[in-house]
Symmetry: C2
Subunit: 466 residues, 2 copies
Amino acid sequence: MSDRRRQTRTEDVMAAIRAQAAARQLAPGERLPSIRRCAAAMRVSPSTVVEAYDRLAAEGLIRARPGSGFYLTGHGLPPLSLARPAVPRAVDPFWVSRQSLDAEADMLKPGCGWLPAGWMPEAALRRGLRALARGSDAVLADYGSTRGSLPLRRLLLGRFGEEGLHLSPEQLLLTNSGTQAVDLICRFLLQPGDTVLVDDPCYFNFRALLRVHRLRLLSVPRTASGPDLAAFEAVVAAERPRLYITNSALHNPTGASLSPQAAYRVLGIAAAHDMTIVEDDIFADFEPEPSPRLAVLDGLERVIRVGSFSKTLSASVRCGYVAARPDWIEGLVDLQIATSFGGPSPLAAGLVADILASGGYRKHMEEIRRRLAQARRAVAPRLEGLGITPWLMPRGGFYLWCRLPEGADPVRLSHLALAEGVVLAPGNVFSVAQTAGDFMRFNVAQMGEPRVYAVLERALRALRQG
Amino acid sequence: MSDRRRQTRTEDVMAAIRAQAAARQLAPGERLPSIRRCAAAMRVSPSTVVEAYDRLAAEGLIRARPGSGFYLTGHGLPPLSLARPAVPRAVDPFWVSRQSLDAEADMLKPGCGWLPAGWMPEAALRRGLRALARGSDAVLADYGSTRGSLPLRRLLLGRFGEEGLHLSPEQLLLTNSGTQAVDLICRFLLQPGDTVLVDDPCYFNFRALLRVHRLRLLSVPRTASGPDLAAFEAVVAAERPRLYITNSALHNPTGASLSPQAAYRVLGIAAAHDMTIVEDDIFADFEPEPSPRLAVLDGLERVIRVGSFSKTLSASVRCGYVAARPDWIEGLVDLQIATSFGGPSPLAAGLVADILASGGYRKHMEEIRRRLAQARRAVAPRLEGLGITPWLMPRGGFYLWCRLPEGADPVRLSHLALAEGVVLAPGNVFSVAQTAGDFMRFNVAQMGEPRVYAVLERALRALRQG
């Protein structure tokens, strides 16, 4: 009998028992028919009944008493509740994350920060999982080493070497995610009350994360070529932040990349005031040609590089990394043990390494860049037609940071759109100084459906009409 | 041509290019032979060369220039360095974790806190990975929902229901690990400087984790039936700890389980002084029959349940959980977004759910319990023969908490054993009050090799002879 057919028969037996329990034909505490009797009654093999009973026991509906058979517990399965309780929430930095992550399948998400699953290298992921299924039992079942998979670290170091950044494997630590990497760095370098500098606007989850650490947040306006340098120098000199957290390339949410002059000046100002920089390089591979990187210029003296594979390969395969001075990595290893007992799953790291090593990754990213360029060209005029104007046209990535028509409040727009099943990302969740009250971040990869524009148009009209 | 054979040919081409680079037959900046020329020279198909070049480019050894071919970067691969720098380290709570996690394959680890990979349900893990490889692209590539996989939560709630603990799916949050669950709870409930109570001895990583949170640690002696109740009541009344973190069942490191009377008294004292309890239930499924659980008695009013699958299914599949009051879970969801951008990999949760639902899990754990009972019976007399005496014989699990022969210092013993490739777990890493200076924790599942006893005997002799 095929696995599939056997599976179906097992499920038939399970369904029959569940139905009997629901109809009170079997009472809580009552013994189920013996394996043999049930097999005869349902015309299946005894081993099918054994599997069905085992699975019902795993679910808690029935319970084995050794030597005596199976009994109905009466607990059944807890009531299925897909929807989260409808707690009204402020539109804070968590709002966009939670709406996007918990969106029902039929919702549209121009506000979310990732590519649709269909854009990811599905065949390579499936092939990688099959390779893991044939892999060693250590990868299947053991904790990994404290720094994470050496093959993946070597591949990453090879890629860094191509940029001119030559590191040893001791300078690289794999983490559960890019976010977790920043979290560990904050734990390592900062005390509650320390001052941290971010861009205005910046990735909204930096705000959420830094708040968890009880830090004092300052921001500096972001221009098309990097932070406003006069403001940057003034705030660093006056407030002496311990840390500056930024995206140099394809900055979230503006899509702007750092100019060589700004990169040089930012490093100089940081050095003059002994400030550490976290460069979150998560959008690195979306650039057609690399823009300047602080980590490369500085050689990881005072810059820490952070990245992950959630935007390029899979958000389900949780794996990020941090590259830094070896003594700092030593400290981060201890922190990762204390707070997660180790790094990412060796399975996740193995899957990423498999795809990076296969060589297909380069082609995948070429294709993604091509599709995104096309999507930017298609989406921008449609938004302009609604009076929504991109602040700049980024050279890569999936974000368009846009000014709304005069008087259209992004938070009210987001509420109206959500009621129609569209998740948006209103400007001020990205702004520590709350200066983005007429901006909105759009993800061009999530805007193929005409319904997005219809909903935006209706919502804008409703706002105009008060 | 089979995948395997094609793979080998690709690797042959890669090896040839690497060898040429190493021998300086190809200089940095130099162009590689064209695909066609290389294919002819090596008698392979052009597509094999394309794949080999792509993979070398992924490693950083060569670089594609669009329209112009491939060039040697000259960066090569960074030098392979498996060994960590030999930094002398104090035997602190991190010592055992790092030695165990980074142990070379030929080392023996009676000090580590997990089962050998060979004890894990390898066939079920492989089958689960193959099922994922056939799964939906959302599970392969998307972030999961904020609380984590609903099928896995339902299975867990079914199991909790069997114990008499009936929860809704909103009361359960999946996490990257049990440790990360405790970390989130500390972030949610505590401020730096707050007082936290642990057992003496307790799991050493609780000490490491609580130190990260800048908390004040107090401990209460653990007896064979739970915390010393007089001492517990006195310290709770006098110091008003916010939190008590404990293992009720098969406590780490002693293997002792809580008595019904101690469970009732502990809850009463906690209620009288408004103290929250984290019950880390990671060894739950190792008990032959369940002992009393604080979470069940209390119904999750002031008790938080934490667990994971690292000890029973796979330490590589990172997935833990926390069950608590729904309003607390809401807060933990935000914290998990801020610090990890979501929970465990949907792939990891899917794999665990697949194995739990299959029903094979119950048989796997029966087999594990049988093997562990056998291992305890075999190991205890061998240790006693060396003058190493178990403090009690646990009813389950893999730990034996043992007193060493008089005058044998566990830290010195650990250093001597490490020099011979054996990782031990000296008593005081488990003790906040440093009262376990003549104890050692042994893992019976990691002590099948006769070499363990030979090394212990030699090291004990060396200590006796000064």
